[in-house]
Symmetry: C2
Subunit: 211 residues, 2 copies
């Protein structure tokens, strides 16, 4: 038995999160079970439930951490690129790279999870980072079209980023079922290129859906 006080609760949380990452990194198709995580951290399930409300709680915290990293990377990229247009391309590349380079983690992140915990602190934290990512794009779009209505730009940013997300999802899904698939980077590049062309071209025009 591991001697008690070998790890603080915070350390145990870290151990668990790391164990989850180890599992999905070693095999993107691996299913994460409470017992596999516990074994990975050198504890038993009971300890896991001492520190997390349930498995979803743990996975949510993993996602939160992944999102933090992703957001951090995106911020670096945003800093080091030339203009708003280039920045958006680089941000998109960054997003795709995450999905392609860490398929297990990406699956974790994009996996739909039932909301067993109510509105939770951690959950909100993850959602807030997602929101931050949208804002990052929104900022660059604003630089591209400073005169345009900010609400309109918010919508444009969300549309664009959800779109990029969609391409990653579809590509990952094709990967998963071993189907032929188009290169995600190419698709995303096409999307961003075309979308930005349209964004710049459009004059002030009604964006409301007809009927």
């Amino acid at each position: 038995m591991a001697r008690r006080n070998d790890h603080s609760r915070k350390q145990i949380r870290e151990l668990a999160i790391q164990a989850v990452l180890d599992v999905v990194d070693s095999d993107e198709d691996a299913t994460i079970t409470a017992r596999s995580v516990a074994k990975g951290m050198g504890y038993t399930v009971g300890t896991l439930y001492l520190v997390f409300r349930n498995l979803d709680d743990l996975l949510l915290q993993v996602n939160s951490k992944l999102l933090q990293h992703l957001y951090g990377d995106m911020n670096v990229v945003a800093q080091n690129s030339e203009g708003p247009r280039d920045t958006i391309f680089e941000l998109a590349k960054c997003y795709v790279s995450f999905a392609e380079d860490h398929p297990g983690r990406w699956q974790l992140l994009s996996h739909r999870r039932d909301n067993t915990l109510g509105h939770d602190a951690v959950e909100n934290e993850a959602d807030n980072i997602v929101e931050d990512i949208f804002v990052l794009v929104q900022t660059e779009l604003t630089r591209l079209a400073p005169t345009r209505d900010s609400k309109e730009i918010a919508i444009a940013a969300r549309a664009l980023w959800s779109a990029i997300h969609g391409i990653c999802i579809v590509t990952a899904s094709s990967h998963l079922r071993r189907r032929a698939h188009y290169d995600a980077r190419l698709l995303v590049h096409t999307l961003v290129h075309t979308y930005l062309s349209g964004f710049m071209f459009d004059k002030i025009e009604s964006l409301a859906p007809r009927s």
Copy 2:
């Protein structure tokens, strides 16, 4: 006990598929279990496994049926709209409507499933319909830009449709976790509008990703 030969195997398959739809229609968050499906069809689990290889097999067949319906609807819409541009808008609306009007079915469809069955007939059927949907869009894009390279258009169509898919995914996910969310129809309209502007505006220009 239900008298044997009350239903043919094909009928039992239909019963099962219908039972699944009933479950997700009655509660989009409901988890589909072998036993709940069996109860819904008036049989027990054993019968289910007489007719399907496993649960995934059943769900895959449900998805195939859903995709057939969706594709049928999209075809009708494509027939009854004015020009290629309008058609694409209508196709997108059709897709969003499916996701919004039948959230349970949409979740079923967009749920990632491990590939427990190998390359299977039903699985290929579903994948083929997805491919057909892409082709539908591709056809309209070709009408919009008849001179453009067909490979390029194929990519553009996949990028566009994956993007629309992504918006539906993100919106549904927000719905699920009861978060504030932007209206999917508005986002999709913005996306299609902007994307088509860019698509029409772009001259023959390199679409290859830099570096």
